[in-house]
């Protein structure tokens, strides 16, 4: 009986110590590995790249219009 109680106590104490002391255990709340929001916003903006326009120099060969 005493032996079982000591074993249970030892196990509980060891588990608690392992949780706070084992180097592989996270001691902070888990955070997703996502890039910062500002970085994402910059990437999204950069995906919309501009073409190149210049003043017209001849009669139009085609037209842009809504469909």
């Amino acid at each position: 009986m005493v032996l079982a109680a000591v074993a249970a106590l030892t196990f509980t104490a060891s588990a608690a110590l392992a949780k706070v002391a084992f180097p592989g255990h996270s001691k902070r709340p888990i955070r997703a590995l996502t890039p910062p929001a500002r970085f994402l916003e910059t990437v999204r903006r950069d995906e919309l790249q501009s073409g190149v326009l210049a003043p017209a120099q001849a009669d139009p060969a085609t037209a842009t219009a809504q469909t």
């Binding site: 903006r45 995906e47 919309l48 790249q49 190149v52 003043p55 009669d59 060969a61 842009t64 469909t67």
Partner: protein, 276 residues
């Protein structure tokens, strides 16, 4: 796709390939053809395997939604049908009946993993916000030399081309694409209220933007078209939204001179000579 396709600079063989490409896109993505893959997907719902072309276009639609903060959204199929655009536009007529219930966008109802699509909660896709422009870009890739491809006025070029703009004026497109979105051509009435095909994803109703037409220049026709739709839907914030991204935009409103954002003006207006 219900629009005229113009190709310049193509050989006979290239022209045939461009024609086949547009026919294929129409077969897959038409909202009105009974045998289109889009119709089958919307009717089926749930989980299904889609074609590689369908998956790629849906990816582009979801990309457009992400980079525009949800403005250009692929899940507005039910909303545009509720507004009354549920058949080929030539057959859409004004009606005394009211529009159907509003159907805001629900991008969270779409999951795509490779070619496996999961469509939840009866959401209906409409990929026409990206399909036509992507077809223009893909069509241009079929040309070996300089030329341009234009579908209903959305164009991509390899080599410089002068382009007429809505409401007069012209511009030279040196490279990339040019696209115009607007609400003056495809519009109709429901119970006396004006309807058009550019849906505000937040309300699920046709947008109440002040703009009639927005023209944008992008690195590709797809970028130009997505940005033009987003700028149109943003209303007064459209010009600055484009400027923040360095995209030239030209905005036409009823009874006013076209408004050019800073990037457009920097591209086409003569610069002051530098002080020496």
């Amino acid at each position: 796709m219900g629009c005229e396709v113009v190709v310049a600079g193509a050989t006979g063989d290239e022209l045939s390939r461009v024609r086949r490409l547009f026919e294929e896109r129409d077969r897959v993505f038409s909202r009105f053809r009974a045998d289109s893959e889009l119709r089958r997907v919307n009717a089926t719902g749930g989980s299904m395997v889609v074609s590689a072309l369908f998956a790629r276009s849906l990816e582009q639609g979801l990309w457009a939604s992400e980079i525009t903060g949800g403005l250009v959204d692929p899940t507005l199929g039910a909303a545009i049908e509720a507004a009354g655009y549920d058949r080929d536009f030539a057959a859409v007529a004004s009606s005394p009946e009211p529009a159907g219930p509003a159907q805001p966008a629900r991008p969270e109802a779409v999951s795509l993993l490779g070619r496996v699509l999961l469509l939840r909660g009866g959401v209906k896709l409409d990929l026409n916000g990206v399909v036509k422009a992507a077809a223009v870009d893909d069509g241009l890739q079929l040309l070996a030399g300089p030329g341009f491809v234009s579908a209903g006025g959305d164009l991509a070029t390899r080599g410089e081309v002068d382009v007429a703009l809505p409401g007069g004026a012209a511009v030279r497109l040196v490279s990339g694409g040019l696209a115009t979105s607007g609400r003056t051509k495809r519009r109709w009435l429901r119970a006396g209220y004006g309807q058009h095909h550019l849906i505000d994803p937040a309300t699920g109703r046709p947008s109440t933007t002040p703009w009639e037409e927005v023209t944008v220049c992008g690195a590709s026709c797809l970028v130009a078209d997505v940005a033009a739709k987003a700028a149109f839907l943003l209303g007064d914030d459209g010009p600055s939204w484009l400027d923040e991204r360095g995209l030239p935009g030209r905005f036409v409103a009823a009874g006013r001179r076209p408004h050019l954002n800073l990037s457009w003006r920097a591209s086409v207006e003569p610069r002051e000579p530098a002080c020496t």
